[in-house]
Symmetry: C2
Subunit: 126 residues, 2 copies
Amino acid sequence: MDTRVTDQAQTVQDQSFAPGLHLLVDFWECRGLRDAEGIERVLREAAAVCGATVLSVMLHNFGEGGGITGVALLAESHISIHTWPETGYAALDIFMCGRCDPRAALPVLEAWFSPDSMSVTEHQRG
Amino acid sequence: MDTRVTDQAQTVQDQSFAPGLHLLVDFWECRGLRDAEGIERVLREAAAVCGATVLSVMLHNFGEGGGITGVALLAESHISIHTWPETGYAALDIFMCGRCDPRAALPVLEAWFSPDSMSVTEHQRG
C-alpha cells in the first residue's frame, strides 16, 4: 500500500498556543463506502481510540448508488467523512485538540475501509 | 490584515477525478466566538454564497467562558468551526465538491469574525 505522510505545519502566531493537529486523509480503492451504520461505528471507534469524547454523529446517506457524508462532532473538534463509492474514494479529516492524537485513529480507519492506497497530511492548527 | 494563501495540492491518482477543494482557515484576534446563533447564521450564509446546500447544522456551546464547536453538513461536503474565545482564535475548514468554490465563503466569514490576522491554505482532495 502506498502511504504518503507529510508535515505541512502552519505559521503559528504564538508558539505556546497550539489547539491541535488536523489530518487530511484520502483513501482510494476502499470498501464500506455506502454502509452508514458501519461508518458511524468506525467513527465512534476512531474517536474512542484517541481518547476523544463524541458529542454527536450526523450522517447523510445519498441513497441508491450514492455515498455517505457525515461528521462526528467531538469535544476535541471533529472527524468528517465524505465517500464516493462510484470511484472507491473517501475523503476524511480528523482534527483533535488537547491531549488527543488524531494519528491514533488511522489504524482503525484503515482496518475498516481497507484502502489500496492512501494519503495523510498533517497540519498544526492555531 | 495579514493574509497568507498557499496552494498545497495533494497528489491526485486520477487527474480527471477531483472531488473538491478543502480550505483550512485560521482566524486570530476575532470577534463573535461565543455567539452560537450568530455562528449558525454565518455558516448558513457562507454556504449559500457558495451555492451549497445545507443538510443540517450541529453546534455545541461549551458554555460560560467556553467556545463553540460545530459543523454545517452540506450536500457538497462541510464547513466546520471550533472557537477558543480565551485567545480570540477560531479554526475553520471549508470543503466543497462539485461546482461550489469554497473561496467564495471567505469574505462572508471574515466580515462576521473580523480577524486581525488570518491564514488560509488550499488542499485539492481526491
